[in-house]
Assembly symmetry: C2
Homo-oligomer: 327 residues x 2
């Protein structure tokens, strides 16, 4: 009685669900033999990827799934609230899940939400699930990307111009005369981490700076990363005079660590991609530079794009990239 799933196809053909997904989407390299096995399994099971779509559309559940990578980051919580404040008055209930920046967990959550028959999914992806996301989307559950892009596009998206934001942030630090600049990167497997890093590098390149590897810390978008980066930088004989942090939590971690080590915040410039909670009270204005983000507004806009998608299925994907300014 139960409809065969992609998992069943994978099991019968003896390949991973990722491979099944690649075959279905004709994406990535898959050996011909694999393709044949997957096709045979689909036929044997009577698996129809697009069959799911129609049945879902008819039975609207009026629930939307939202997957975010970090449930304790105020940025994502404000974006979530922005989504909910538009969709709730339209009769939708939202269910939120946290991937903890873990691609495997994200894949499980995408599966779970599709099994719970949500009408659509909004995801700020932890990376690594490009094919699976496209597969679900093409099988009839509209998926909208927020904050983070995936290679190849093809889905509704709202994100910031992370490259420009980080470029401008770094340029402001450089314009203030700093040349020894610590950089705290985020996760480099997701677009925000990658694009911000590239923006930083373009700016220092324009000033002819050859970045000292001791001043590079690859973090994971957490406060703890920021703390560790600051501790490491402060151990150097030749300390940085400014630290560029490529998200809000890492900047908070840097500030807290500097404070704990007795460094006067006025003696060093901290540049943050993203707002710091309580910023006006945290540091004097000229020693804290931030890229202003509008996560609540971004959430609102994401919800509007999603509503349009739910009304008109066939349309081309819409991509909106938001400009960011400095505070």
């Amino acid at each position: 009685m139960n409809k065969p799933t992609m998992k069943d196809v994978a099991r019968l053909s003896g390949v991973s669900t990722a491979t099944v997904s690649r075959v279905l989407n004709k994406s990535g390299a898959v050996r011909e033999e694999m393709k044949r096995r997957v096709a045979a399994a689909m036929e044997e099971l009577g698996y129809k990827p697009n069959g799911v779509a129609r049945s879902l559309r008819k039975n609207q559940t009026k629930t939307i799934g939202v997957i975010i990578p970090d449930i304790s980051n105020p940025y994502f919580m404000k974006a979530s609230k922005g989504i909910e404040d538009i969709l709730y008055p339209k009769g939708y209930h939202l269910i939120f899940c946290s991937s903890d920046e873990n691609p495997r967990k994200e894949q499980n959550l995408l599966t779970l939400l599709s099994e719970k028959r949500v009408d659509a999914i909004v995801v700020a992806t932890a990376g690594g699930n490009e094919d699976f996301i496209r597969y679900l989307h093409s099988s009839g559950i509209p998926i909208m990307l927020i904050d983070r892009k995936i290679e190849g596009g093809g889905l509704d998206l709202i994100a910031e111009d992370n490259f420009q934001g980080a470029y401008r942030l770094t340029k402001k630090v450089l314009d203030q005369g700093h040349r020894r600049i610590g950089i705290v990167n985020g996760l480099l497997g997701v677009s925000t981490g990658k694009d911000r890093k590239a923006g930083f590098e373009k700016a220092i390149g324009e000033y002819g700076i050859d970045q000292d590897p001791q001043l590079v810390f690859d973090g994971s978008f957490t406060e703890e990363s920021g703390r560790r980066a600051a501790a490491r930088f402060m151990q150097l004989a030749d300390r940085p005079t400014a630290i560029v942090c490529l998200n809000n939590l890492m900047a908070s971690g840097v500030l807290l660590q500097l404070n704990q080590q007795g460094v006067d915040i006025r003696d060093i410039v901290v540049a943050s991609y993203g707002s710091i909670e309580m910023a006006p009270l945290v540091a004097p204005h000229d020693s804290l530079i931030t890229v202003k983000q509008y996560p609540y507004d971004m959430g609102n806009r994401a919800a509007q794009i999603l509503l349009a998608r739910l009304q008109k299925e066939g349309e081309e994907p819409r991509e909106e990239i938001l400009e960011t300014g400095l505070d």
Copy 2:
């Protein structure tokens, strides 16, 4: 084929689901005639409140629903992360929903989660749903209360000793010599708001203070409430020398508003029930007093109690009340 639901009973008997719930739980005043109509409808439909329980137990979905009142309050997000970090390694997926402190929305979410067949629900209740929560619990979906109690108990609970916490916080302010103290209350329809208010009142009562009504602001646990309270207090000819804020967000709002109005934070004491983000950088130690909270640990503990509940159904409800200290 579909099993009759409480809604069906309500429809057939022409009463609200709340009334059906009251009849089932023998709680609250319900007219005899109503009781008869509900009983007749249940019989006609073959409705069995406890039948749901067994069928759910056999079909574990390994998902747990968590309903919190404010998705943008770091306190609840840390508690949520504390729950998830215990339950995820045990193979459970969590889905979070936000009630926005809205009892009606909370009731919808409770219904939604039970329809999505979660194995259990953790709720920090927005109030007003005592009967419905007990009904769902008795119909076989274990419900655990976190942070906020409901009248009458009967469910697993983990919460802080809010009365003692607020009492100690206020006493410390009084011991510093303050007598003109502004109070920013939270929502008074939930236990945290009520109990903290009572703790404050006990402390000032012991000092023989007759609270000036101009120094009382009833807020809603939001930063915006704190901002409005501070603005109001600062307009008084006879300003308070200390402000007690009965949650973290309201304290943040007070601090931000004072800062915006050019008040030097060192000239006034702000006492906060709950930690302020970035506190070490926000205000000098002696002008910011906080009740230390451990939401992450509370979430961990809640998850452990819930796991025990899922293994042994019949046991008596467990209530754990956590002591809080001052920072």
